[in-house]
């Protein structure tokens, strides 16, 4: 057993509730038709939801720094790949 303090069940339930709420917000925001901003808003909300799952459900918040560094490497790599591809796509 990990000797650190256990996360209360209630914390997880609250986060879950927040995720459902955010899902609702996404659906409503999409129906409001922000046009260009729709995609930004949707991705922003998805990122928040993803971060909640990552940090709380997957316990990244309480893990050693190593895990956060490794995840950053993967995310930076993914970002760099997308940005450079769009150096082509956007300017053809």
């Amino acid at each position: 057993m990990e000797k650190k303090e256990l996360v209360p069940y209630g914390t997880y339930i609250m986060i879950w509730f927040g995720l459902l709420v955010l899902t609702g917000v996404t659906i409503i925001a999409a129906s409001l038709h922000f046009g260009q901003w729709s995609i930004m808003t949707a991705i922003a909300i998805a990122t928040v939801k993803g971060a909640l799952v990552l940090f709380i459900f997957m316990n990244l918040k309480r893990e050693e720094r190593l895990f956060k560094i490794m995840l950053s490497l993967a995310l930076i790599t993914m970002t760099v790949i997308m940005v450079l591809t769009f150096a082509d796509i956007s300017f053809r």
């Binding site: 057993m1 990990e2 256990l6 996360v7 069940y9 997880y12 339930i13 986060i15 879950w16 995720l19 459902l20 899902t23 996404t26 659906i27 999409a30 038709h33 729709s38 995609i39 949707a42 991705i43 909300i45 998805a46 939801k49 993803g50 799952v53 990552l54 709380i56 459900f57 997957m58 316990n59 893990e63 050693e64 190593l66 895990f67 490794m70 995840l71 490497l73 993967a74 995310l75 790599t77 993914m78 790949i81 997308m82 591809t85 769009f86 796509i89 956007s90």
Partner: protein, 252 residues
């Protein structure tokens, strides 16, 4: 009984190492789907209008329901881990079962969704789809590939959860080998009641004894590592869907 020593097998378990390995595996999944998200981004840029239209042909209700199912399954998953941390084995097993069930329901929904599309002739390579504009063809190609690959991962996840459930549901047990130094009287339980043997008569060198515990912290600790790591995989499948849902169903 002659003096016999139970050798506790000291299995060196590296919990952190196992966790590092699982996170590394998750990174590969991130990059795998990342390639598809890149393709999505590229084609969205090429065909904004067609993507807008094709999105409206997907059912937001089913998509939202599926999102809710997966989010809830993530909750039950992490609660299952929390329960085993507290040595509440029964609760952990129940929650794990619910998680797998929710995953299965997700797949059932997916089946109905896809069937509906097939019935309307909207699938890659169909004659109906060939009549639609290029952007819509690409959209459906992406839709089926992305949700299909995701669905395969959900299916594998359900399988893994089932295996771990079976492992945790059993009372923890360990089999140790007890060497016999001298002839020993052993009571063996047979169908017709206890049977007695002299070890020398039976020519036994050692007896394998299975210890069945009501609970065993060391065993639970090892199982917790597997459960946690399976949980990490399950949460990633959830995170991928968190991004898939708005991109495929909502953006217009």
């Amino acid at each position: 009984m002659s003096a016999a020593t139970l050798h506790e097998p000291h299995v060196h378990v590296d919990a952190t190492g196992a966790k590092i390995a699982m996170w590394l595996f998750l990174f590969t999944e991130l990059l795998l789907f990342g390639g598809l998200f890149l393709a999505y981004a590229v084609f969205r840029t090429y065909y904004p209008a067609d993507f807008h239209y094709a999105t409206t042909t997907l059912s937001v209700s089913i998509g939202a329901l599926n999102t809710a199912l997966l989010l809830t399954s993530s909750l039950t998953m992490v609660l299952s881990v929390a329960a085993l941390e507290r040595l509440n084995r029964r609760l952990s097993v129940i929650l794990l079962g619910v998680t797998a069930l929710l995953g299965a329901l997700f797949l059932v929904n997916k089946y109905f969704e896809w069937s509906a599309k097939f019935q309307h002739g909207l699938y890659p390579g169909s004659q109906e789809l060939a009549l639609h504009p290029d952007g819509e063809k690409v959209f459906y190609g992406l839709y089926f590939t992305m949700t299909g690959l995701h669905g395969v991962h959900v299916l594998v996840g359900v399988g893994v959860l089932a295996v771990i459930l079976a492992m945790i549901a059993r009372r923890p047990r360990r089999t140790v080998s007890v060497p016999l130094a001298a002839p020993t009287a052993l009571a063996l339980q047979g169908d017709s009641g206890p049977l007695w043997h002299q070890a020398a008569d039976a020519q036994l060198d050692a007896v394998d004894v299975t210890l069945v515990y009501r609970e065993n912290e060391a065993v639970a600790h090892r199982q917790l590592i597997k459960l946690e790591n399976a949980g990490l995989y399950w949460h990633l499948v959830d995170v991928i869907w968190i991004f898939l849902f708005p991109l495929l169903y909502l953006i217009s």
